[in-house]
């Protein structure tokens, strides 16, 4: 719930009473108490005369200056015994695995002097192929979270492991002695670690009454159940999807680029299917049906707005249309939807690409998922784009099992509940009644790593390590394994604290296992079950070699023969008959409300709320709304106007607050206008409003989990029957981009695929400049000739092509706007977190931003036709008038102009040009005049208003950036922590360039292409950013610069940036929309 006082001073402000207005206009809200300390009486009675005061002042100044002249004595403490593989000042990389119960990612961890400081994707992984997302990047900061539990807690007090273990073992033994099956329960999120699963089964072996229940905050239970009946295997499963093989992708409400199933993997695949080059001039077509504007919807070629309750009907009608065309299965006799025309056209497209298409749905409803299976079946996609034999082990949560557990708990049948890596006290819906049931369990044990909502109510908290401190393994897909290894010793350890202990070790200990060390256990498990029995010539089993190889690459493949190739026969549905009329009636009975329908979605940054205490993620602007630090109600702007809500059209970021009522439960949230949101629908993000996240995440936004509904034996995130009413309040929102269109300028260039195939330079026409002599080419109208002639650096190109010339290509066709680059840049360059209050003042510090543009119907010409006055035209163009705008993302960082406007205005030469093309920023020379920022046409320079790393003010927004010994550990020592009062900006990761060059020099060879990449380029899951030396003809960037799609941002200014963009191509099919 939002705190009213925080944002409102009082009613007088709201009503603008005359007294308030008078006071408001004064410099100080209250009269200064000058008389108190400068009145005649005060002066005469004072013991300090003016002379004394001046003396003290002088003395203080002199003393301070003298003290400043003294060189500080710095201590330095080397290792007593140096670890073999650690050289101070040299980075080490370790392969590991990120899995937080939801997203899976094979990663590389950069450690410096023993501290993990950066995470990158592991290119060797066949699953994620080097991709990462913002959440994975940010996870390194969570390691240094001071809110992590540092001790075991027993009954609310800090305790020791001995006490906790003794008491827990006694409780478990007593419960097991009862003999009541299911009275000991391990409740966890999805576990994909084979060793952990083995440990849990051993635990159940020791306590036979125990059982294991998996529960996901955002469930895929409906899909698993649909597949259980559909696939021949007869067990709940999810197959593997290949978005790169699909020519037509239809998604019904599934945001597969940021949240659905395995978004990191899918975004990589998706981008590969849509990449254009001189050799490949074709891309996949993506059609999205959805209610709210998701990242996937924003990237779709065709986006059709539906109400959430219509998902089933759309799927069914699509099935019927496809079935009619293919005549393979009987069409369903379903009711019409307003989109049937479009659906039949889409069906035709799908049928045309039979076997090369993919239909997915985000719904957690079994029926909808079954219909989608039928569509894919009819289209023959199970042979190609969907591999049933390779099962996806992610999202194994079982809603029914969870529901029955809760009712068992309510009935007092559960004696011991162990929660591991799950937080149902926060995420479970009100309908499930988990919280009352939880209170009834006599012994609650939490294996959480911080004192979250569930742990708060637990009798025992046995804190787990962070994943960067622990050993683990993962099996995300059939045959795909990866290892996680510790990159640092546990931070909280004896003797200072009792410390953390890996959850697996806790379970091993309680099971009374012989092996209580998880590392040994893991190795034994791999030796026994996974690693092949390879022997050398002498017949010695090469276990150590294999283990080390696996550990080094991080991944291991052991594919069962069956899984390698999908074979239709092996899963065929032939034996199962579908009761289509029953499905039709089930879908027809989906509750439709008279009021609003609410979609409970996940934001790209916070997701389900696990990492809510991570300031890097909280400050990451949402790809679509560009809002930081909050959740809110998204609503169609047209409807907002009707309701009289603020459209946030002016720059003051003030939104109206509304009360949203669902089934009698209310929350107050600001309303945010979302172009492209279906009318009659609202969107609210999950993952906010936490109370046990920690200093950063607590109280940010409101919790929408209680609204999750229970329907058809699964949790539903589409909620009906909502009422929205104004709360007569306003709320300031911290959004980083306040305008939505390009205001008529060619900032982002785009073309349709059809146009592109005819002319690769489509949409990228040469701009002409109007002069008194008529239209002229850009190169003929140049203010910089004199500058170029005098410049010591050859700006256009190195004449002999010998030196290095860095360029960056950004393919707007591949960028999905996910924000991974933003967090990666934050981690690499020690970018401070500033908090919402500063974001509102437009003082965010991100060196890279992703601009999101809505294509508006309004153009200069159209505005003229409609008779909009000159003064209003600009404004009207800024408001996307279209109900269903097209969206485009454009990452913008310092463009490193060769004709840099910033360089010419710096009075102290703090910003200047390097011979390799980089616009350099020298912080120690900068005096903070901000002239450069004013003169930058791209607005990429950030002024450092505060000592973010010292100022108490920023303690709550980012405790990790304070000068405590824990938080400072995440800083990259190769990049200086900027002080207050300097301008900062993207340096093209010059520290990486210098390090890469040094490596090449030391190895006596030229720099290899792809060896030196910026943090953003390395982190881009879709490879939209390519960085390299353009003077190397073999480099990727040299190839891209020859592509007809390349253009410069605001080329008419002739700033000649070293960053260039590639036009966005939309595979638009006008026929579908008409």
């Amino acid at each position: 719930m939002m705190n009213e006082k925080k944002y409102w001073k009082g009613l007088e402000e709201l009503n603008e009473s005359p007294a308030f207005v008078k006071a408001r206009d004064k410099e100080f809200a209250k009269e200064m108490p000058i008389e108190e300390f400068l009145g005649k009486e005060a002066i005469t009675t004072s013991n300090t005369s003016r002379r004394d005061f001046l003396k003290y002042l002088g003395f203080t100044v002199a003393a301070a200056s003298l003290a400043a002249c003294e060189s500080p004595v710095v201590k330095t403490i080397p290792y007593v015994i140096k670890p073999e593989d650690v050289t101070p000042g040299v980075n080490n990389w370790y392969a590991s695995t990120f899995f937080n119960g939801e997203d899976y990612c094979s990663v590389l961890i950069k450690t410096r002097d023993g501290r993990p400081i950066k995470i990158e994707g592991n290119p060797q992984s066949p699953v994620t192929k080097g991709a990462v997302n913002a959440r994975v990047h940010a996870s390194v900061l969570s390691l240094y979270d001071n809110y992590r539990a540092k001790n075991p807690y027993v009954h609310g007090g800090e305790s020791t492991w001995e006490t906790a273990d003794r008491e827990i073992a006694a409780k478990l033994t007593a419960a097991a002695a009862k003999g009541a099956t299911g009275n000991i329960v391990i409740l966890s999120s999805t576990i994909i670690s084979p060793s952990t699963q083995q440990i849990i089964s051993e635990f159940i072996g020791k306590y036979p009454t125990a059982k294991h229940v998996m529960y996901d905050a955002v469930s895929f239970s409906g899909m698993r159940k649909a597949n259980q009946t559909y696939f021949v295997s007869g067990k709940p499963s999810i197959p593997a999807y290949s978005f790169d093989k699909a020519k037509v992708i239809v998604s019904i409400g599934a945001d597969f680029l940021t949240n659905w199933l395995s978004p990191i993997e899918f975004s990589k695949q998706y981008a590969e299917g849509r990449r254009l080059s001189r050799e490949k001039r074709d891309m996949s077509k993506h059609i999205q049906f959805e209610s709210i504007m998701t990242v996937s919807g924003a990237n779709a070629d065709t986006r059709i707005q539906i109400k959430p309750s219509e998902e089933g009907a759309v799927a069914l009608n699509l099935y019927s249309a496809v079935a009619k065309l293919t005549k393979k299965l009987a069409p369903a006799n379903s009711s019409a939807t307003p989109y049937d025309d479009q659906i039949s056209k889409i069906a035709a497209e799908l049928v045309q690409s039979s076997g090369q298409s993919l239909v997915i749905a985000g719904s957690n409803d079994t029926t909808v998922q079954t219909v989608v299976n039928m569509i894919n079946d009819v289209l023959g996609n199970y042979k190609t784009t969907i591999n049933v034999n390779q099962e996806c082990n992610l999202r194994q949560g079982d809603d029914e099992a969870f529901a029955s557990l809760v009712s068992d708990m309510k009935a007092g049948k559960v004696d011991v509940l162990i929660t591991y890596n799950t937080n149902p006290a926060y995420t479970a819906s009100a309908a499930s009644g988990f919280n009352e049931a939880y209170a009834k369990v006599p012994c609650k044990i939490s294996l959480a790593s911080s004192v979250d909502e569930t742990a708060t109510g637990a009798d025992y908290i046995c804190p787990d390590h962070h994943y960067l401190e622990s050993w683990n393994d993962a099996n995300p897909y059939t045959g795909q394994y990866s290892l996680a290894q510790p990159a640092i010793s546990p931070l909280f350890c004896k003797p200072r604290n009792e410390g953390t202990r890996s959850a697996q070790e806790s379970l091993l200990k309680w099971s009374g296992s012989d092996v209580t060390d998880y590392y040994t256990y893991l190795q034994n498990h791999w030796k026994k079950n996974l690693l092949p029995e390879v022997s050398d010539e002498g017949g010695n089993y090469l276990y150590t070699n294999l283990w080390n190889q696996t550990l080094q690459s991080g991944v291991f493949e052991k594919m069962p023969e069956k899984a390698a190739e999908s074979d239709q026969e092996s899963w065929g549905h032939g034996a199962i008959s579908f009761d289509i009329p029953a499905m039709v009636s089930k879908i027809a009975s989906t509750p439709k409300s008279s009021g609003y329908e609410v979609v409970l979605y996940q934001k790209t940054s916070i997701g389900s709320g696990i990492q809510a205490n991570n300031p890097w993620l909280q400050e990451l602007p949402d790809p679509i709304t560009k809002v930081t630090w909050d959740n809110y109600i998204t609503m169609n702007p047209g409807e907002m106007k009707e309701k009289g809500f603020s459209l946030l059209e002016d720059d003051n970021h003030v939104a109206s607050v509304a009360t949203l009522t669902v089934n009698g439960s209310k929350i107050e949230l600001p309303v945010f206008p979302q172009p492209g949101q279906a009318r009659g629908t609202l969107g609210v993000a999950l993952g906010y409003g936490r109370t046990g996240a920690g200093r950063v995440g607590n109280g940010v936004g409101a919790n929408a989990y209680p609204w999750v509904q229970w329907n058809n034996n699964t949790f539903q995130y589409n909620v009906t029957g909502a009422e929205i009413a104004s709360a007569n309040k306003s709320y300031t929102i911290g959004a980083t981009q306040t305008h939505n269109t390009m205001i008529g300028r060619p900032i982002l260039k785009e073309a349709t695929l059809e146009e592109y195939q005819k002319n690769p330079a489509a949409g990228n026409e040469q701009e002409m400049i109007k002069t008194v002599d008529g239209l002229k080419q850009l190169k003929d109208v140049n203010l910089w000739d004199d500058f170029d002639a005098k410049s010591p650096v050859n700006l256009t190109n190195n004449a002999d092509n010998l030196g290095l010339r860095w360029k960056m290509a950004i393919d707007l066709n591949s960028c999905i706007g996910c924000g991974a680059c933003v967090v990666s840049c934050t981690a690499e360059n020690n970018v401070p977190v500033v908090g919402k209050a500063e974001v509102v003042l437009v003082r965010e510090m991100h060196w890279i931003r992703i601009d999101r543009y809505y294509s508006s119907d309004m153009s200069w010409e159209k505005a003229k036709e409609e008779g909009i006055t000159e003064s209003n035209r600009m404004y009207d163009m800024m408001v996307p008038s279209s109900d269903n705008p097209e969206v485009a993302f454009q990452p913008v960082m310092c463009q490193h102009c060769n004709h840099a406007p910033c360089e010419t205005v710096c009075p102290v030469l703090a910003t200047n040009h390097g011979s390799e093309g980089i616009n350099q920023m020298v912080y120690n020379r900068c005096v903070g005049t901000k002239y450069c920022a004013n003169n930058c046409p791209y607005k990429v320079r950030r002024f450092n208003w505060f000592n973010y790393y010292r100022d108490e003010k920023f303690l709550t927004v980012n405790p990790a950036q304070q000068s405590n010994e824990l938080g400072r550990m995440v800083l990259n020592p190769d990049v200086v922590v900027r002080s207050r009062g300097v301008m900062e900006k993207c340096s093209l990761c010059v520290q990486r360039i210098q390090l890469g060059k040094l490596k090449a020099k030391m190895e006596s060879r030229p720099v290899k292409d792809g060896e030196i990449v910026t943090a953003c380029a390395q982190s881009c899951p879709t490879n939209a950013i390519v960085f390299g030396n353009v003077n190397d003809p073999e480099s990727r960037v040299a190839t891209l610069i020859k592509d007809e799609r390349n253009y410069l941002l605001l080329a008419d200014l002739d700033t000649q940036p070293n960053v260039f963009y590639m036009t966005k191509i939309r595979n638009k099919d006008k026929a579908i929309l008409e």
Partner: protein
Amino acid sequence: MPVNNSPKNPSKFFAGIIQFYFTFGGDLKKHTHLLNMNKLITKLQKSLAAFFVLVFTLIFTTITYAADAPSAASISAGEKLFHANCAVCHSIGTNKITGPGLQGVTGRVPAPYQDWMLKWIKNNAALRKSGDSYANKIFADNNNTAMTVFEGTLTDDQIKDIIAYVANPPQEVAQNAAGGTTAANGNANTGGGGNYKEILLIVIGALLVLIYILRSVRKSLLSVSNEKKGLPATEDLSIWKEIPKWIRTHKVHFAVINIFITAVICVYGWEYLWGIHVDPGYHPSQPINFSHQVHAGTNGIACLYCHSGAEKGKVAGIPTLNVCMNCHKGIQGSTPEYQKEIAKIYYAIGWDPQAAAYTKPQHPVQWTRVHSLPDFAYFNHAQHVVVGKVACETCHGPCNTYTTNQQFSTLTMGWCIDCHRQTQVQMKGNGYYAKLHEALMKQDSSRTITEADMGGLECGKCHY
């Protein structure tokens, strides 16, 4: 001792002194014309002038002397010879190795030092036998350790070169060896040397005394003349009252003095500010009394044996104690002093020398950092040591002579830049530069490419 650091602009400060003289001289004349004692005054003025002439001569002599110093070629030849032949036993500073430190040796030995030293170096035994008292004294002072006879090994010219070098050691060495000279006079970039400032201070002091004496003289003369003329005695003003009075009547003079004083303060202030946090010669005491002279000097251990990080990355690294133990497991110290220091290593690493096992708790050593670059400057050792092939001594000086490690260079940006301007890039044989090297050689094979030519002066190369 000759002045090696001639002041930046001596004419300026002489002009100042002359101005000062005329100010007060003129003043004296004005007040005493009443009296029939012009002659006396003129005499006084003359003697004053003589005094200044003396001062100037002194200063000029020293400067001229410096100008007469041996040629640079001779010194640099001498440096090489010195390192090859003498450095094993003699330091150029004050510290004794086997033989005495040679700083100031030219002043110690019997004059003219060139002749005496030539004789001594050629054949010190012969010189001692000849009954030279100083030669015998030196021999006795150094535990009767005989110095090598160089007759036949070195030519007279070579010995003269060595003498030239010893008489004109490199500035930094001279200063460092003096033992932690203060920041104010240590900065090579500002060109400041200590000596001319001291002279200036003495001159100013002398002038003040002179002014005081002359004032008393004038006063008594005035009272005598007044008495003679029957005029009433002038009011006997104290000096504090007279100064304001003088200021009121001599506004131009006062302004000139003021400008002079302000200029002096500015010069001193400027140089002082440049010297803040510039600490060549900084040699803090360390928790373990480690001597580079014993390890790198006497025992000749290679720098990279301990500072292995210098070849690999950013920091050279303070060796960890396990590196010490490679040798000190066996070497436990020959004297109680050494034993005490080596015991500190054992304590820190938890080594039990009796049991010869690492059984005790560890106690990490808190060294005091000597070289400390600010955060905003990025420096990488590997870049310089491996790629640039720069010798450790170039920046760190003759560490093998330091008993307590010290900062040798100023580590200022000017110092970095100077080196980058002069140092040639080690292109040959490095595949990284292969293409560039080939192209440049084609253009002009005699061409030299310095770091600066390769962009080594660009801000973004070190500041990020």
